[in-house]
Point group: C2
Chain length 334, copies 2
């Protein structure tokens, strides 16, 4: 088995220089780095992945930071990233870290600085200025997924446009009393996407002269969250809206389940539209604005690979297309 | 920066021996291994995780192989493993590999043999004899989650008992025409758990003298799968059962949604019980047999850690408890 000394001798450099060249820590001229790496390859200085990593300066692994693993969107994203990374021979190292947790601080302060990744994908987290600095110090390229793009390359949809399309669909059908179901207008840092959806909804309402109808039934962007918010709003029939825009499909489906339980016919008495095209949307005949999280995961990997090849290129933002999918949960006012 | 030559000199062994000791590849006596590792630590032969891995013979990472990422069960398991591994300072390297795919062959033939993990957790996959051999060749301890325990340590619930408890609950309420909703009796390799649930259901039916009522409405163990299977079975009112045992909560919830759509009252006209205690069970008032996938993930990590400490101990199987959770989707026959 070749050692670092063998590699150094073959490359005609000191062992310290060879170590620097292979580890990527400390300055070595590009020419020397190449010579050392070539020597390492010639000498088969590769017994397993750790040695490979030292030899090539690459870890063949990508760190993925996600605040939640348990939602449909996250699982689809993860599957998209997994497939794309696996196809390119990269390992996916997963950090499922909750917002504001002690784990999160430990990740940014102690774990990431000691790991060597060829790249990092940060999903739906809004890094603080300090965290972002930490991430960029790790020196691998960073790509984020979601509406957080300062300083990093990012893949996202336009959340405001998605909510505007959904709201305008209902307005076109003649609805005026349209409630945004789920999410929170006073969005905490972890829900910037929800905040932008609220903005898109409100903009469409105001543009149609429906300012006084702007109303959000707050709640978690989940099926139970949408269910409970819908029961609250639908409970008083004199204040009952004629339509819901779900902050996401899961909230919208919760709204449909709530309506059925209360004996309110969808879409005859209540139209419901979502945002996502969730795997359950078809089953509930849900009209929605489709996004493709699996494709977003793959796009993030493509963007990351480009950043690996061209580390000095300016940060790039990729906005993926969305589209209205008309099913039968929406209809005109009778 | 210290090199392998420095470490070898300090430990009083050849460079080849030091390499073997640090890499874990090839035989070195335990005493020598300890001496080399101590020398590596003394010399701070640690610049980053790759060097650390060489120095300690540990990669501080665990490989997790899962056939599906997109189900509630998988996501909860993954979160449980993630939290437990992170707390112990281990990285989770995720391989989301579909059953029977080309990726799966590549994983077992080319990827795993070249990676160094301190342990591997295989979720719900049934390795072939050849794959199992490959896994065990990787030499790290292997723990599986799910009903596949040959040759490996495993964490699971008793699927047959879970289905028996669910079925007996309905029999105790006076039901006789009880259909198993979802899953497939002719289970493919990826659905051994579903097969065992069918066995538990059938055993309970036979024990109650209900042999001729044994009936499975086959379909994917998902909400849409349960929905479609339920519509099929409920469509002909002369053959309509009085109760469903869902192969899992998602199938059971699909059955409830189908019943509501068809105007069949749950539980007055149809009782439905599931297995899981899915996050949506509460919202559908679903009676179910609860399991804790998050806890199963944590238990798998504990078992793996024990196997790391005691690599020569016999394979251990851990069966986690399950319990009936009575909500209001089941009732006696009127």
């Amino acid at each position: 088995m070749s050692t670092i000394a063998d590699v150094a001798a073959r490359a005609g450099v000191s062992k310290a220089t060879a170590s620097r060249a292979l580890s990527g820590n400390g300055y070595v001229s590009p020419e020397t780095r190449e010579r050392v790496r070539a020597a390492a390859v010639d000498l088969s200085y590769v017994a397993h992945s750790s040695a490979m990593s030292l030899a090539t300066g690459r870890s063949l692994s990508v760190g993925v930071i996600m605040p939640s693993l348990a939602r449909w969107f996250s699982a689809e994203l993860l599957a998209g990233m997994q497939d794309a990374l696996f196809a390119e021979g990269y390992d996916l190292v997963l950090y499922g870290i909750r917002e504001g947790s002690a784990e999160r601080a430990r990740l940014f302060e102690h774990i990431l600085p000691r790991r060597r990744f060829d790249g990092i994908i940060a999903v739906g987290i809004q890094p603080s200025a300090h965290e972002l600095e930490r991430l960029l110090q790790v020196s691998s390229p960073v790509v984020s997924i979601g509406p957080y793009s300062e300083g990093t390359s990012a893949v996202s949809i336009d959340d405001a446009v998605a909510a505007r399309i959904a709201t305008e669909h209902l307005i076109d059908l003649g609805h005026r009393d349209i409630v945004l179901l789920g999410g929170r207008a006073d969005a905490a840092t972890h829900a910037v996407g929800d905040k932008r959806r609220f903005d898109g909804y409100r903009a469409a309402m105001i543009a149609a002269g429906l300012d006084e109808h702007v109303r959000q039934a707050s709640g978690p962007p989940t099926m139970p969250g949408g269910y409970e918010a819908a029961v609250r709003v639908l409970g008083d029939r004199r204040k009952r809206p004629t339509a819901f825009v779900g902050i996401c499909d899961e909230a919208a489906i919760g709204g449909i389940v709530a309506a059925r339980r209360l004996g309110i016919a969808v879409p005859a008495e209540l139209s419901v539209i979502g945002i996502d095209d969730h795997e359950h949307a078809e089953m509930f005949s849900l009209t929605t604005v489709r996004q493709h999280p699996r494709e977003q995961g793959a796009a993030a990997v493509r963007l990351l690979r480009e950043r690996m090849e061209h580390p000095d290129a300016a940060a790039a933002q990729v906005t993926l297309p969305i589209e209205l999918v008309a099913r039968s949960s929406t209809s005109g006012i009778r």
